[in-house]
């Protein structure tokens, strides 16, 4: 009995050491609206974890807490060894260079061209000063998503799928170690959705990134996930590979895989 608890806690420590994101007992509510209750979550190095949950279940809130856009009410959010809620602005910026964030609504700056959109994170993080290097990085990121020809267009001139890919290019331009994708394939046709999913896999292989992916798109989940976490009623309801969860007999889980 005693030995068993000990191995469990040792296992827990190991998990914490390997993980690039470690969330423990995270609580977040808006007024009387309790979104996350003691939510636990881990992302290991090189892993693609999909967070699955109903609309409004707090998936976006979770990754916003991870990147420090929202402050949790209580609990620990540890990213690359740093406690996010305790960091000041500068320390937070230093972590954010290493963590890419793809917004659910793309969040492209619509007063700027595609080039300026991609240059923005580079310039703001004081990274590349040299004009040619900046240009090379921009073109590389655009070529990665197959949209090099749009470099001088405005976001309003692009289609929804193109905008998604530009947003992805902007997320990838800093070569982050961790990428948080908020619904990367929602609202796209199945073919474009698959292209984006493939792109995400390529990125993972090429740069050895770890990612958290929020998605309702079962095809995308199947393709990219190493592990799936079910966010139901504010807790981590279940966790396992796609194939494991797919055959689960639990009603709440089964609904997502119908």
């Amino acid at each position: 009995m005693f030995a068993e608890t000990e191995t469990a806690s040792v296992k827990n420590v190991n998990r914490k050491m390997d993980s690039v994101i470690h969330v423990e007992k995270l609580n977040k509510s808006f007024g009387n609206n309790h979104i996350l209750h003691n939510f636990d979550f881990d992302l290991l190095k090189g892993e693609n974890v999909v967070v699955l949950g109903k609309s409004g279940s707090g998936k976006s809130v979770l990754i916003k807490c991870i990147i420090g856009l929202m402050n949790p009410d209580s609990g620990s959010v540890n990213v690359l060894g740093k406690e996010i809620p305790e960091l000041n602005h500068q320390e937070l910026d230093r972590i954010r260079v290493k963590v890419g964030f793809l917004f659910q609504s793309n969040a492209l700056y619509d007063s700027m061209t595609v080039r300026e959109n991609l240059e923005f994170p580079l310039r703001r993080h004081w990274i590349q000063k040299n004009k040619e290097t900046v240009n090379d990085l921009v073109m590389e990121a655009l070529t990665n998503v197959g949209l090099a020809e749009t470099v001088d267009m405005m976001p309003s001139e692009l289609s929804g799928g193109m905008r998604k890919r530009i947003a992805l290019a902007r997320t990838l331009i800093l070569k982050p170690e961790i990428i948080l994708y908020d619904e990367p394939t929602t609202g796209l046709d199945p073919i474009t959705g698959k292209e984006i999913s493939t792109l995400m896999l390529e990125v993972q292989k090429k740069y050895n990134t770890s990612s958290v992916i929020i998605s309702h798109d079962i095809n995308c989940v199947k393709l990219v996930s190493n592990r799936v976490v079910m966010l139901i009623d504010g807790i981590c309801y279940a966790s396992g590979t796609y194939d494991e969860l797919k055959v689960s007999t639990d009603k709440k889980i089964h609904k997502f895989f119908e």
């Binding site: 917004f103 969040a107 700056y109």
Partner: protein
């Protein structure tokens, strides 16, 4: 009326109850309105306070400030000039008959220049800017907010308050006085033309009279207050946009209330400015 017609006591009482309940409803409603008014005022004060704490600290977004200042000035220049010209012209034409009645037609340039410089040109400039710039800023920041562009800036190592709010507020604070000085000049020119429609006033005579009339105490307070107009327009536009609610409807509402509140503030500031200049006996 009802009381005269109804003699029955019970009906009388029920009418009374109806009236008093109406009064209670009115009080509750107005208490709610007061509450939201006070909480909004508090929020705006906090937002403004943040401006003063963030403004002196690096990093200074000088490029963005220049871009905004140029944009704001350039966008409003034609409108301000045309309106000021028309105001100068109209005020002169309207004032003439009264002065003629008193046999004081020669005072026309004097009177017109005082009212234009002290009051009309700065306030008209501020109102136009509240309409054009205030709504523009409210809508722009509002749509950036609802499409998560402000969050995106934050994760890209940028303090969005500094990058978006401080630069815009500085731009309006420094640009609107320049526009107001321009409006002063153009409206006086309109006044000159207005004076020449009926009577004949030579160019030299008109300007001599104007500069004889206007003293330091007229011009300086009128320019000083435009800095406050500019600040109010910028801060309200930014506040409304930055705190926009979700959805495109929220963006429209932000733009709309930015115009309403900043126009109202322009008049309030004007009122305070008048009291201060009066107290200091500057005029």
């Amino acid at each position: 009326m009802i009381f005269i017609i109804l003699s029955n006591d019970s009906i009388h009482a029920s009418v009374f109850n109806f009236k008093s309940s109406l009064r209670i409803i009115a009080m509750v409603v107005s208490a709610d309105i007061w509450k939201s008014f006070l909480s909004e005022t508090g929020d705006i004060a906090r937002f403004t306070g943040r401006f003063f704490t963030e403004f002196p600290r690096p990093r200074y977004e000088f490029g963005e400030f220049l871009r905004q200042a140029f944009y704001i000035g350039y966008k409003s220049l034609p409108l301000v000039a045309i309106t000021a010209f028309i105001m100068g012209l109209v005020i002169t034409i309207q004032s003439r008959p009264t002065l003629v009645e008193f046999g004081a037609e020669a005072w026309l340039p004097k009177m017109v220049s005082i009212s234009l410089i002290r009051e009309i040109a700065p306030v008209i400039t501020a109102l136009i800017c509240a309409g054009k710039i205030g709504s523009g800023i409210g809508a722009e920041l509002g749509s950036m907010k609802v499409t998560e562009q402000i969050d995106a800036m934050e994760v890209s190592g940028t303090n969005p308050y500094k990058y978006l709010v401080v630069t815009r507020v500085m731009a309006t604070t420094l640009t609107i006085p320049i526009l107001a000085v321009l409006a002063d000049t153009v409206s006086l020119y309109g006044g000159f033309l207005g004076a020449n429609i009926r009577g004949v006033v030579s160019w030299d005579l008109f300007w001599n009279q104007v500069f004889d009339t206007l003293v330091f105490g007229d011009v300086l307070p009128s320019i000083l207050k435009t800095f406050f107009f500019g600040f109010a327009i910028g801060i309200i536009g930014c506040y409304k946009g930055y705190n926009s609610n979700k959805g495109t409807e929220g963006v429209g509402r932000s733009a709309n209330s930015a115009v309403v509140i900043s126009s109202l503030l322009v008049f309030v500031i004007d009122l305070i400015a008048v009291q201060i200049t009066d107290l200091l006996q500057l005029n």
